[in-house]
Point group: C2
Chain length 339, copies 2
């Protein structure tokens, strides 16, 4: 069994900050990225957890990301705030734009935050949950590197384009989902390749557009959208709303944004906030209880609410810290140590 190490959340945060500061990130970026990767590690989303710091450091080394970028908040319209990340991480841009987004949503009922010119390497559930912590419902979407063919097509065009939603539940963890609009993450194909295993049917096509279960052929070809033409349509919507609507890139344009084609995706993100209190006024509490009837209807028949595994992990991690492979810890310690 691989050796592992358990860190308190405070120690995980300190390690993350040291890695980031040692790789040129300024304290504001280091703090925002640390909040994100430690939250993901705490929720046992390992691929978005401390592991992701390696990619952050590489992206900074490639100069694909400006680790000292100052996000610029732009009050675009009464219900639109834009943040130009100025080639920095989306995470600090989100944090800078959030108060204005919340204020606009509360005043107007609905509002949008558009993040531009950002490097994006975090899970969207964090951002919609940040809205629900303030009593708002939220939707977030973003394109990413083009790995996915449109339904009926044969070559990569769409990103894996995640879509996330959160609904506030007073006194409880919010109802939250966050899914890729591809059948699976590209990382799953990589894992099958490494394990020498065939892919399930329906995940991917080869470079001629034929269905394949060979992970090598799939990596040369394209992933498929989930749910056939419906998922493909949803992915198109995400490209448009988190791309041209906010004046940013489409999935098939993200790859060229770093000089050598390496580094994390560079693109925009769209976040929509809904304020139930502004929609409902005095009826808000009653409608919050009303929404609970839906969740009960799901759970009572043995189905699960999304994110429950993550929320259970969160409780465990708060009590007992997070456990990562010793090898990852060693690699992070090396990245945290001045050369």
């Amino acid at each position: 069994m691989a050796q592992e190490i358990t860190l308190s959340l405070a120690d995980a945060e300190a390690l993350s900050r040291r890695v980031l500061l040692n790789n040129g990130f300024n304290p504001a970026h280091a703090a925002a990225i640390t909040r994100s990767v430690v939250a993901a590690q705490r929720d046992e989303c390992h691929s978005h957890g401390l592991y992701r710091l390696i990619g952050c450091a590489q992206t900074a080394q490639y100069r694909g990301i400006d680790p000292d970028a100052e996000p610029a908040v732009i009050d675009q319209a009464p219900s639109v705030v834009k943040v130009d990340a100025n080639r920095g991480s989306s995470l600090l841009a989100f944090e800078k734009g959030l108060p204005r987004l919340v204020e606009k949503a509360r005043r107007n009922g609905i509002a949008v935050l558009g993040i531009n010119n950002s490097f994006h390497f975090s899970a969207l559930w964090q951002e919609v949950e940040a809205l629900s912590e303030q009593g708002l419902a939220g939707i977030a979407m973003t394109p990413s590197h083009a790995y996915v063919a449109p339904a009926g097509g044969k070559s990569p065009l769409f990103g894996t384009n995640p879509f996330a939603f959160s609904w506030p539940r007073p006194g409880k963890a919010p109802y939250t989902f966050d899914f890729a609009t591809s059948v699976v993450a590209r990382g799953e194909i990589e894992l099958h390749k490494r394990a020498g295993e065939a892919l399930p049917e329906g995940w991917a096509i080869d470079k001629d557009g034929n269905p394949t279960t060979d992970p090598h052929a799939a990596l040369d070809g394209a992933l498929l959208p989930f749910g056939g033409y419906k998922g493909s349509a949803l992915s198109t919507m995400i490209e448009l709303l988190a791309g041209p609507l906010i004046g940013d890139l489409l999935g098939h344009e993200t790859r060229a944004a770093t000089p050598d084609g390496q580094g994390k995706p560079f693109h925009g993100e769209l976040i929509i906030a809904f304020s139930p209190e502004t929609f409902l006024g005095d009826d808000t509490e009653r409608q919050q209880r009303h929404a609970e009837a839906l969740f009960e209807g799901i759970v009572d028949q043995g189905a699960r609410l999304p994110s429950q595994r993550r929320f259970a992990a969160r409780e465990r991690s708060r009590a007992a810290g997070v456990t990562i492979p010793q090898a990852l810890h060693d690699e992070l310690e090396a990245l945290a140590t001045p050369a």
Copy 2:
């Protein structure tokens, strides 16, 4: 071969108005419903076309719908307009709320129209296309009678909950999709039952929650959401945003709204409008061209844009009128004739 009859669009409109007026609908409702069913017939969406007038008339006979209801437009917040349909059709409520929605979206960037207490029997593409005709992007969603089990569950809880999106393309028909979040429409199960055919795998479960290909067992059981837990999550979002957020019913509550459980679904609807010009200012035209690169990327690899069949039918119908079964025409003529 069944006998058919071809009507000009003007004759189809006149027939629709006569049916509706003869069944108690006031001229404003008759006009709004006629615009909807003739548009659907024109686009060869037969189930939402003239055929739907039979259900409208029945719903009025059951007194499930008020054919004389006056929609009340409520200016809820700077970016929220609500229309209380007052137990009338959603269609007149939409038309009454549309100008305010467009105005709010143009001023604020994004705005919402919430329709309450309405009978809903139309396709959502019409409403999002109405936004795109004004240069806006739109999303529409609504719950409906609960026929769909959550992924991992075993009994009906969600409506077939359609989700529609439209993006304006200057000088062209908009990019539009409109899909149910169930694998198929319930009508497809009915058709298989009538034809004595087994269902494809993955469409439905029986009343004990087991997968079934028997249409009878499926009608006693539940449809499944498209795309597994992802479609199920999307359907949950639709229930929440077009239900409790606007103070209206969940899918599993719609059935009881008419006294005998008959009649068309009674519930709310949510429409979101985005104004690209408000987001983009001087960059609007360039970004509209930018969006076209995505559509070209889809079409150039042999995939199709959604709604193309519908747009082709629209051109044909404008030139040559619409063709319906003689039996349907006879039934409509009977409904149009005072007793």
